[in-house]
């Protein structure tokens, strides 16, 4: 279908072995095009976090194939040597809670990522501040995380996920702590970013408020995914 974005085929993940083994992912197939935001929905224990961890290269799947951008990163074994660099350069993470680094100000929380990739400080900060405009946290650039409201923190966390312009963003319940208005605002930003930077975004959620916004949704039950078309409501 598409060269870029995310392609997952026949992904399996088994925790442990023998009698106590748990098959958290049995058959996962997903495709997310660049510029697309898809929802991943499923009951608790269905394997959502496991899938994000596999895709985020922090745990190793048991079998299957994963493609990020135009590179196969997993084919019954890792195809990439430096998973750390892969995470840093190619994947943006947005968590349920913002998890900002409390001892860095807003700008450096975001600029840290390009810095880690070896970019000069000034350039990294410039890159961060540019995003703040789009995310409407420009005025808080010098603040410490503890001085921000929950919504502002989450927007900074989104900026951090976006700053290295990764081809893929994985968001784990990004709207859980937000009220409906702010939750929709976050989804709007994600759509906007996906569109602008050709990013493929997977949003794990069971937030009723935002489910109707997805054009495409993957349901996962007992480690098996199933594609559905969503309402794709215009939430503007």
């Amino acid at each position: 279908m598409i060269g870029k974005g995310i392609v997952i085929e026949g992904l399996k993940k088994r925790y442990g072995s023998g009698e106590t083994a748990v098959d958290a992912l049995k058959e996962v197939n997903m495709q997310v095009a660049p510029g697309e935001v898809v929802g991943l929905i499923g009951p608790s224990g269905s394997g959502k976090s496991t899938l994000l961890k596999c895709l985020g290269a922090v745990i190793e799947p048991t079998a299957g194939r994963m493609k990020l951008g135009d590179e196969i990163i997993y084919d019954n074994g890792w195809k990439v040597k430096d998973l750390r660099a892969l995470r840093r350069d190619r994947i943006g993470f947005i968590f349920q809670a913002p998890y900002l680094i409390p001892f860095l100000d807003v700008t450096d929380n975001v600029a840290l990522l390009p810095m880690l990739a070896g970019k000069p400080n000034a350039e990294s900060r410039k890159q961060a501040v540019e995003l703040f405009k789009a995310l409407d946290v420009e005025h808080r650039a010098k603040a410490m995380p503890s001085q921000l409201s929950g919504g502002e923190q989450q927007r900074v966390a989104i900026a951090r996920g976006l700053v290295n312009r990764p081809p893929v963003i994985l968001a784990d319940e990004p709207t859980a702590p937000l009220d409906s208005e702010r939750a929709l605002a976050v989804i709007r930003i994600l759509n906007d970013m996906a569109h602008r930077f050709e990013t493929a975004i997977i949003v794990v959620t069971h937030d009723e408020k935002i489910i109707p916004t997805f054009k495409r949704i993957y349901h996962i039950r007992d480690g098996v995914t199933q594609e559905e078309s969503g309402e794709g409501k215009d939430f503007q």
Partner: protein
């Protein structure tokens, strides 16, 4: 790249400074302990330097006169002075005792010096006030650490003395200040019995038929007279002529006079290696314990600080921070804590050193050693925290 450790410290500087202060006081105590040991060694050296002697002649088979009791006949010095290579020889007595002045007393090493001129072995080499002893009796030169001032009167045994001169840093190897008095007075103080004892002894002598012989009327008087003199001193201090080797002169005194003779190096070995050796070990033990306690505190604090950042560390790892960067962050914090501690410790040790009753010598080299030890301890004790941080699974940042 920015300094993560620096930012974290700036963010929680209050916690850091307070912890560093606590650690610093501990380091201050450690430096002071080292200073106390150095002070003891320096006191011993000062004692040897100030005695003005090249050789110490003492009773055979003793480590006298400072480390063990020693007594010699008071006329021995004459024959020693006649030996080749000997420039000057002088009797000396040492007795550490409580010296009374009115209501209070002070512990001092009372030194008996022979009559003579300045430069005589045993004499204080320089005074900070007043003059040397000129009269044969009841004058004293005291170290200012005794608290005496010029003109003060004090009591040793039955006799009263007037302070005519003051010295500085004239101390025994125990750090007790010295008081110089004429040799006769000093040996009386050391060897003379009290009146009752003299009476008793006289009575016993009179009752002894062997001494009390009607046929030889002078015998009893002679015996009693010999009992009340005390022809003893603790040591003879010897200065050798230039051109002679101390050990050669010592050898000939040893051979001809059948006495124990120590040169400067041997004397220092006796004082430092024997007299204060137990104290030195005691202090060494204390230093070990303090180092272990400091290490435990640094380890505990750094570990706690790190545990409080587990989530942040998981996030840092997830977004691609190298293990090296995270380990470096923790290591730098430990070292920073050590630096704060060292600065505080150095300052406090310097401030409170003069308050100690005994001499505390803070040697720059000890500070350097202490600094290196602090850094090593901090590095080692950060390992536990680093291990904990490296074990953090980046997957923890993604919820369950």
């Amino acid at each position: 790249m920015i300094s993560l450790a620096g930012r974290d410290i700036m963010h929680a500087w209050g916690k850091f400074v307070l912890t560093g202060l606590g650690l610093g006081l501990l380091i201050g105590v450690t430096l002071s302990m080292a200073g106390i040991y150095r002070g003891m060694v320096d006191d011993a050296r000062a004692l040897l330097d100030n005695s003005g002697a090249d050789l110490w002649v003492v009773q055979k088979d003793t480590l006298g006169p400072y480390a063990e009791p020693s007594s010699l006949y008071d006329d021995l010095w004459r024959s020693i002075r006649g030996m080749p290579g000997v420039a000057r020889a002088a009797n000396v007595t040492y007795l550490t005792m409580q010296v009374r002045q009115g209501e209070w007393d002070v512990r001092a090493m009372v030194t008996g010096i022979t009559a003579g001129e300045p430069g005589t072995p045993g004499w204080p080499p320089y005074l900070v006030a007043g003059r040397q002893i000129t009269r044969g009796h009841y004058e004293a030169v005291a170290d200012i650490a005794t608290g005496f001032r010029l003109g003060d009167q004090f009591q040793i045994r039955r006799n009263h003395y007037t302070v005519v001169g003051l010295t500085r840093r004239m101390v025994s190897s125990n750090g007790d200040p010295m008081i110089f008095i004429p040799l006769k007075d000093a040996s009386e103080a050391q060897f003379l019995k009290d009146n009752d004892a003299i009476h008793q002894q006289r009575r016993r002598t009179v009752e002894t038929p062997a001494f009390n012989r009607p046929g030889i009327p002078d015998l009893l008087d002679e015996v009693i007279a010999s009992q009340s003199t005390n022809p003893y001193v603790n040591a003879v201090l010897v200065q050798i002529k230039s051109g002679y080797v101390a050990s050669d002169v010592a050898d000939s005194i040893r051979r001809w006079q059948r006495l124990q003779v120590y040169d400067r190096i041997q004397m220092e070995q006796i004082l430092v290696g024997k007299l204060i050796a137990t104290s030195a070990k005691q202090i060494g033990m204390f230093l070990v314990i303090l180092s272990v306690v400091s290490a435990a505190i640094v380890a505990f604090i750094i570990y706690t600080l790190t545990l409080g950042k587990i989530r942040e560390i998981a996030v840092l790892k997830l977004i691609g921070t190298k293990n090296r960067t995270i380990a470096g962050m923790i290591l730098q914090q430990a070292i920073a804590l050590g630096l704060i501690g060292f600065v505080v410790g150095k300052i406090t040790a310097t401030l409170w050193a003069p308050i100690f009753p005994k001499y505390v010598l803070l040697e720059p080299l000890d500070s350097v050693r202490g600094f290196v030890a602090v850094v090593i301890i901090c590095v080692l004790s950060s390992f536990i925290a680093i291990r904990a941080a490296l074990k953090v699974d980046p997957a923890e940042a993604i919820g369950g």
